[in-house]
């Protein structure tokens, strides 16, 4: 689907500082080598099977299927990965590549901390040094993840520039990399950034889709009618969609963060609505949430992992070509879907993943019990207790934190 190397339609590319040119030459070579080497993929599959728990299950959620009185709903359980999300697929794959390249250190950006924890985990396992860049704002909001990253041996650097969130952490990681590239690999967390990252991350994440395709065929006897995934950068969506891209009858739906609602401007919706426009930043060309001058805008979502200005160039192309449909879920809808999913099935989607559930729930009733739909559950929500309990405004939780806080305050 690429005309020019690293392009998907008109999207993608590698807009990198010259000082990284050679690094990318090497990275491309190593990546292409690995991709051509079937032993590499075998090793990857073995690692994901023995260190994480792939294949992750495809759970038939019968209560919800009955509840919506429509399609049979299946949930692809990326939450059961080691570290609790699909992020593991990407980092472990890149870890193998780093070892192959002989590098000794990895860096990564993180927003909510999920990718940071995954990278720190991978680094511990492979024996790499590890530095994680994280917006100062996020360091404060997501202290639990910072705690784990540090315990896993990583250095977490709070980023104080810009909005002090994900995109700034990404910029800062690039700044580290242009100094340290000789021994350091930048483990990008999603299907974005300069080529070959989108293609490479999509490759590692394709494990989701190939498993899901096999599983639904086995348990349901035919392909699903629709596949839903939330879209931050787009890696979990690309992961599951790749299993069905060549099946024109399978409709693919990406769900973006509607935040407080499109009309408020406080959202992170790039491909639904009209708020985004084509641009080039962070090394690639895609639809960005930016102003008329090309300055990136502040975004908002209850789900930190979706709170990002850009989106995978591969998805933007699939959107433009009409292969993937996009929809939006607001923060409020997300909390409701989360609640329903917990109560009906005993599973706790991450706030990010819950976006996909929202749209699936809206549409399940349009189909019949002879149809199946798959929701990609990109991660588990129990890691997000601070955010989720806060978002639900749970009074006992607040009381608990008040008391703990007072206990620690008294220690000073």
């Amino acid at each position: 689907m690429t005309d020019k190397k690293g392009y998907y339609g008109q999207w993608g590319g590698a807009f990198i500082p010259e000082v990284l040119h050679e690094t990318f030459v090497q990275l491309n070579a190593a990546y292409n080598d690995a991709r051509a080497d079937s032993a590499f993929w075998k090793e990857y599959i073995a690692l994901m099977g023995s260190y994480s728990c792939r294949p992750t299950p495809l759970t038939h959620v019968e209560n919800l299927s009955r509840h919506f009185n429509g399609a049979q709903i299946f949930v692809k359980r990326e939450d059961l990965n080691h570290t609790g999300a699909h992020k593991a697929n990407n980092v472990m794959g890149q870890g193998l590549l780093v070892r192959r390249m002989g590098k000794k250190r990895v860096i990564a950006e993180t927003g909510a901390g999920q990718h940071g924890v995954a990278t720190a985990t991978m680094a511990a396992r492979f024996g790499f040094e590890c530095t994680i860049y994280m917006g100062e704002e996020d360091v404060m909001r997501q202290r639990p993840n910072v705690f784990w990253m540090e315990k896993l041996g990583a250095t977490v650097v709070p980023v104080t520039s810009g909005a002090r969130t994900l995109k700034d952490a990404m910029n800062e990681a690039f700044r580290d990399w242009v100094t340290s590239m000789d021994d350091t690999h930048y483990v990008i967390g999603t299907v974005c950034g300069p080529h070959p990252f989108p293609e490479m991350v999509a490759w590692f994440q394709s494990i989701i889709g190939s498993e899901a395709r096999k599983q639904i065929t086995e348990v349901f006897g035919k392909l699903p009618s629709r596949v839903y995934a939330c879209v931050g950068g787009g890696s979990n969506a690309m992961g599951v969609f790749q299993g069905f891209l060549d099946d024109p009858d399978v409709e693919l739906i990406g769900v973006e963060a509607g935040g407080k609602g499109l009309e408020t401007g406080r959202h992170a919706t790039r491909l639904t609505g009209d708020d985004a426009s084509a641009g080039v930043a962070q090394g690639y060309k895609t639809m960005f949430l930016q102003d008329d001058d090309g300055q990136m805008r502040d975004t908002h979502s209850v789900a930190a992992g979706l709170d990002y200005i850009g989106v995978s160039p591969i998805l933007t192309d699939l959107w433009e070509k009409g292969r993937v449909r996009f929809a939006t879920a607001t923060d409020d809808e997300v909390m409701n879907a989360l609640d329903l999913t917990m109560k009906k099935e005993g599973i706790i989607p991450a706030l990010e993943s819950a976006h996909a559930f929202v749209q699936a729930y809206k549409e399940a009733g349009e189909l019949t019990p002879d149809d199946a739909i798959i929701i990609n559950m990109s991660g588990r929500g129990d890691k997000d207790i601070f955010t989720i309990a806060h978002a639900f405004g749970d009074p006992s939780w607040k009381e608990f934190i008040r008391e703990k806080g007072a206990e620690y305050a008294a220690e000073k």
């Binding site: 010259e18 050679e22 700044r175 962070q282 001058d293 300055q295």
Partner: protein, 254 residues
């Protein structure tokens, strides 16, 4: 006159040229105005005016902050262009635009080139636009006679330098070291052999930037480079001592 030729001509009179940098709108256009006056009056040969961008990945903390404060202060691309027009009209040295590609892309590439010509800008430095990604950019640069200033880095192989040169005009911006703007550069033997490789790779004049902060550095570059680029240092100076400090600083560099 072509940028390259202007530089060659100036080099007949000076051992090394000085190029300085500033971020438009930081701390304000009026301070920019005064800083530029001080620079020109004290012998700066070329000035790169950076149109701020919210995601300046190739810049270090100081210039990053300048970009973001300028945007937070409400600067617009339009204001930058108007200001540039005023400046180029006032001073008879080459002015360049430094910015990230998205600013140009969003403005409309051709419109931006047209505007630059109208203003009298002589070259563009776009650190996130490698030649492979700049097909239309380079076509338009040729069409409008704007010099695309491209970059060599210590990590560039000889072959890569050849490749880059092929698309470059005006001069080559040799990044002195790995990393981003703002940190001091230590000049070592490695640097000398890097500069020798740069010289061999291109006929264009060579500018050296990243971490050049005083007379000692400039002196060191004489004979090795054609242009010394002072970036972060003047921003720091203005922050610390005000625009008036720029003149004496520049005067003392050479």
């Amino acid at each position: 006159m072509q940028l390259k030729n202007k530089i060659r001509a100036a080099l007949n009179e000076k051992k090394i040229l000085l190029m300085t940098h500033l971020v438009l709108g930081y701390p304000s256009l009026s301070v920019n105005r005064e800083v530029i006056r001080q620079m020109v009056e004290n012998g700066v040969d070329i000035i790169e005016m950076q149109i701020p961008f919210s995601e300046p990945i190739a810049d270090g903390p100081m210039i990053l902050k300048a970009n973001q404060d300028s945007i937070a202060g409400g600067i617009t691309v339009k204001e930058c262009l108007e200001f540039a027009a005023e400046i180029t009209a006032a001073y008879d040295i080459p002015f360049l635009f430094m910015t990230y590609y998205n600013i140009i892309y969003k403005y409309g590439e051709e419109a931006f080139f047209k505007k630059a010509v109208e203003i009298g800008i002589q070259g563009f430095i776009v650190p996130d636009l490698p030649p492979e990604e700049g097909e239309s950019f380079h076509r338009l640069a040729a069409k409008y006679g704007i010099a695309p200033i491209l970059i060599f880095a210590p990590t560039s192989t000889d072959d890569r330098m050849k490749e880059v040169t092929a698309s470059a005009k005006g001069f080559i911006y040799c990044v002195a070291r790995r990393g981003v703007t703002g940190k001091k550069t230590e000049f070592t033997e490695d640097f000398d052999s890097y500069m020798a490789r740069c010289r061999k790779a291109t006929d264009l004049p060579l500018a050296v930037g990243f971490g050049i902060s005083g007379k000692e550095d400039v002196d060191y570059l004489v004979g090795k480079a054609d242009i010394a680029v002072i970036g972060t240092r003047t921003i720091q100076l203005v922050d610390a001592e005000g625009a008036a400090a720029v003149g004496p600083f520049v005067a003392g560099l050479r």
